[in-house]
Each structure stands twice: as C-alpha cells, then as structure tokens.
Amino acid sequence: MSWLKKAGRWINDRSGLSEMIKPLMNHPVPPESKWAYVFGSATLFCFILQVATGIGLALLYQPSSDKAFQSLQYITYKATLGSTLRGIHYYGATGMIIMAGVHMLRVYITAAYKYPREMSWISGVVLLILTISMGFTGQLLRWDDNGVWSAVVAAEQMGRIPLIGKPLARLLLGGDTLGGQSLSRFFAYHVFLIPSLIFIFVGFHLWLVMRNGISEPTKPGRLIDPRTYRQWYHNMLRQSGVPFWPYAAWRDAVFSSLVIIAIVVVAVVFGPPALTKLPDPSNIITSPRPDWYLLWIYALFALMPPKIESYVMFFGPVLIFFLLFALPFISNKGERSPIKRPWSIIGSAFVVIVVISLLVVGNRASWSPHFKAKAITNFSIPQNDSLALTGMILFQQKACLYCHKINDDGGIVGPDLSHVANRMNEQQMIIRIVNGSQDMPAYGGSLSHDELNRLVAFLKTRQ
C-alpha cells in the first residue's frame, strides 16, 4: 500500500469523513428524476459562485461612503481582471435569481410542495426573499448615484408600511439622511447578515431533501395520501431507487457547470454594469433605475393608479408572501400531475407573462419624461408662418417635448403629436393645454395668451 493510501485511510479513520459523505452520496432517489430536477442545485451553485466572487470583490472593495465609488472604479479599471470579477458577480446574481425562479415554478407546477415537503416550500420562500434582498443590497454597494437613489426609493417604499414605516425608512438609511452610516449598514447586510441566513436556510432546505427525499416524478391519477405516502415512497425507493451519486448527480453537475460557464462568458462579453456618477444626493441630474430583477416593481409603481398605490406598496408584498407561505396548507394532498392540475400551468404562465411584460414596459419606461429630447428642427412649417415657427421653439422650451413625441424625437408619456391636427381642432387643443389632465400639467397659469396662440399655431401644422 502506498503511503498516500495509508495517509488517506488514517484521515478517514480519525475524521469519519466517508461516514459523513457516503450516506449523502448513496441515498436512493426515484429513478425517473431527470432534467426537471436540476434547477435547485443550479441555484445552489450560483450561490456558491456568488460567495466566491464576493470574497474576491471584498479583497478590493472599500465599504466606506466616501471611498466605495473610487474602489469600484479601481476594481473596474485597474485591478487585475477586476472588471471580469464584477461581471461574474453581477451575472451570477442574475443566474441565481433566474434559477431560483425556475426551480420554484417547477416545484409549483409539479406540486412537489405537497405532503410531506411543506417545509421545503416554506424554507424555499424564505430563501427567495433573502435572494432578492441580496440583489437589492448588492446594487446599493455599487454606491454610484444609482445606488444612493435606489436606497432613497427603497426607504420611501418602506415608509408606506403602516405605523412603523417612518422608523423603518430611517433604519434603512441609517439616519435622517444618507451619509457615512448608510453604506456600512448595507455592506453588513449584504456580506454578513443575509448570507449567514442563506447558509442556515440552505442547510435546512438540503436537510429536508435528505429527510423527506426528492419528490418522485408525477403520474396522473397517483394521489398523495398523507396516511400512506411515506410508506409508499419508502417502498418505491427500496424497489427501484438509484443512488444519487452519480445517477442523478451527473445531470446536476453538467447543468450547473453549463450555467456557471454561461455566466462567465456573458460577464466577459458584456462586462459589469457601468458605473454612473458619484454618490452625491445633491446632484439631481440623474435618472435612477433598479437592476433588472427589480425593474418590474418599478414598472408596477408607475402604472398603478396613484390612489391605491400606497396601499399596494404595503399590502401587495404582504399578500403575495402570505399566499406563498400558505400554499402548502391550502392544498397538501391529492393530485400532483400538472396535466390534472391545469390551473397550476395557467397560473405559472400568467405570473411569467406578467413579470416579463412588466420588465419590458419597465425597460421602456414610457412614463418618464425624455429629458434628452433634442431640439426639433423646423420641418414642414411654411417659412412665413412665424407664429408656428416660434410655437415650435416654445414646444421645446415649455417641456412639451419631454412627454410628447413629434416625428422622431420626444417622450412617450403623453400621446404622439406628430399628426395631432388631424384629430383635434384649435378649441380642443386650447382646452387641453390650459387645463391639462391627470397626467399632464395645466399650462393655464404659466403660458401667456400670446404663447398659447403660438403653440396652437405650431400644433395645427402637425397633420
């Protein structure tokens, strides 16, 4: 026996390593558990990737309100492969959120949350909340102007929580305003507090996999009966179960490996999100946007009727998470097959479509004034129509162009006015400009009679 083998035996004898690992590796799993089962482990590997790249970034980062932005510039432009490291951490977050989402949908569609795996679902929902919190606090650690304004927006949303809203908002910012205390807190949450909670809940989630076994692939008509299920599952594994390693693990390994490689490729090709301006809350020329995984919430708040918004901001998340936590208690037995539970497919498709639509709409942000709209040039206005020509200049000066498009430029908050004269007469235009509407300011108080005439003269040429 070689000395290497001897050493190995000694270590194993004294440490009991194989006693610990072998049951994990050899535990039997249902034979037909195939590719639908890879998303949970892919989420876990994304998390491990985040921990590893996060440690890498922490070697270079300065968690101090006055220095963090410079250290990010250093990481991005100077540190060896720093930009790639940032990119992997960013797209790793994206990967983790997508994989967690797909994993959750799979569990929902195949009703794997039913008896006896209710706790797996509940701890999974907790992990989802923690993962989103990581995404949010991570965006703040970039500590550019988007970071500071995202913190303010989050504080405002917390402010809508009844009774304790204001103190919570204050707690988030670490004081009355942003400052030296803010980033230290976000750093502590992102690097210590939330990850340690994730470790605890991942441990618990995995323990439950060992204790209750992974759910068997569904079969229409095979119902879950809490009185007999455990015995049935046990017998099924004894008859036809296969060892996890390597018969099920190989798919996890291959898929997770592909996910990680894809994340690295995307990070190298696209690079990390660009750093914007200094974290100076007194620089007001900025258009804060959340990272994509929170963009749908940003869209929701713009689209919602303002009257109900404050309530939705609080009761919406409460209701969603209440329903998620309640799910395994609402139905924990009976049919699992998605073919027999068509509503689970319709419901999942609905959620996916709504979130993707909101992401598309949020990316377009049609409700935001288009501050960069360029001066419109005098096309198709007769040169002798001086009223209309000056009206065109007013159209820009009075900020109309920020919200209304004319031909190629302008915002899309209000209607496109390229051909407004075809649908509105002079009187209607005047009424609208003077009185405004829900989404348009009333210009009656700030336009002179002469200015109004010029504007209308210009709009009348838009046919």
Binding site: S65, D66, K67, V148, W149, V152, V153, A155, E156, G159, R160, P162, G165, K166, A169, R170, L171, L173, G174, D176, T177, L178, G179, G180, Q181, S182, P279, D280, P281, S282, I284, I285, T286, S287, P288, Y298, F301, A302, P306, S310, Y311, M313, F314, W367, S368, P369, F371, Q397, K398, A399, C400, Y402, C403, G436, D439, M440, P441, A442, G445, S446
Partner: protein
C-alpha cells in the same frame, strides 16, 4: 435517588442549561441591537445652513441649492450632501422645497421656462408652488424651513421626507 427526584433533577438541569445560554445571549444582544437600532435611538439635531445670498436670486426665480446635512460623519464624503429648490416669491419671502419627489423620493428638476418641477422616475410633475401638476405624487413637494438673515439665505437641514400610507 428516587425516580421522581431524578426526573426533577433532569428537568432542573435542562432548564438551567437553557437559562445559562439565554442570559449571556440576551446581555450580548443589547449592544448589538444598539448598533442596529442606533438611528432610531439617536435624534439628529438639525442646523441652519447658509445656502445663498439674497442678492443672487431674483424675485420669481427658482434655484438649486446644495448643502451639507446636519453633523455628517467624517467618512460620509459627498453622500452627506442634500439638494433643495429655493424660490424667491417676493422681495422678503423665500420658500424652499426638498428635491425629493413625494412619490418615491427621486430628485425632481426645475424646468425654468416651463415653470415646472419634473421627476425622472415615474413622471411626477409639480407647479412652481410645489403643488402636484401631474403624475403619481400623492402630495405637494415637501417644504423645508428657510429664513433670511440680512443678506444670507439660510435653510434648516431636514430628514429625507418620507411619504407614509396616510401621507
């Protein structure tokens, strides 16, 4: 030792062990929660800051003012700055608005020719007096205290205005 005595002893020792763990945990938690909840326990004192000369701003004009928050920490850097909009209503009267939109706190900008404050986030618009002109904001721009001290215009630093569910 009788059976009953043994059970009592077992119960007692179990509880003693739990208590022995709980007491130091509770004691140590106090300063940790102190650090976490510090912002709620310590009230920051607001201060007056000079932000402009009265002679630099004409009647009817609205100007951006930038100032340092009250008592910033030495490592706050530029993150301890705040912005507000100062408006001279008449020779003697000045008003100042926090730059935070009352919808979700984004920074509103003043469009001078249009005489409107506009928010880049969700399209909130306010008139020159701070009242809502369009979009989702639930209430007018928050005013902050301003005073004229000879030729100095001073504003009182203020917390980030937080809109609550009851506004």
């Amino acid at each position: 030792m009788s059976e009953e005595k043994n059970i009592n002893r077992r119960k007692f020792l179990g509880r003693l062990s739990l208590l022995a763990g709980a007491i130091p945990a509770a004691i140590v938690s106090v300063p940790i929660f102190g650090a976490l909840l510090g912002p709620l326990l310590q009230r920051q004192k607001q201060v007056w800051r000079k932000v402009a000369n009265a002679s630099d701003i004409n009647v009817g004009e609205t100007k951006l003012i930038q100032y340092l928050n009250a008592d910033p920490l030495p490592w706050a850097g530029v993150s301890a700055k705040s912005a507000a909009w100062l408006r001279r209503v008449s020779e003697e009267k000045f008003i100042a608005f926090s730059a935070h939109c009352t919808h979700l706190g984004c920074p509103v900008r003043w469009e001078d020719k249009a005489q409107l404050f506009m928010c880049p986030c969700h399209g909130g618009v306010y008139y020159k007096d701070g009242t809502v002109a369009a979009g989702p904001p639930p209430k007018p721009l928050t005013q902050i205290e301003v005073r004229k001290n000879k030729n100095d215009i001073e504003i009182k630093t203020a917390p980030v205005p937080i809109t609550t569910i009851t506004q």
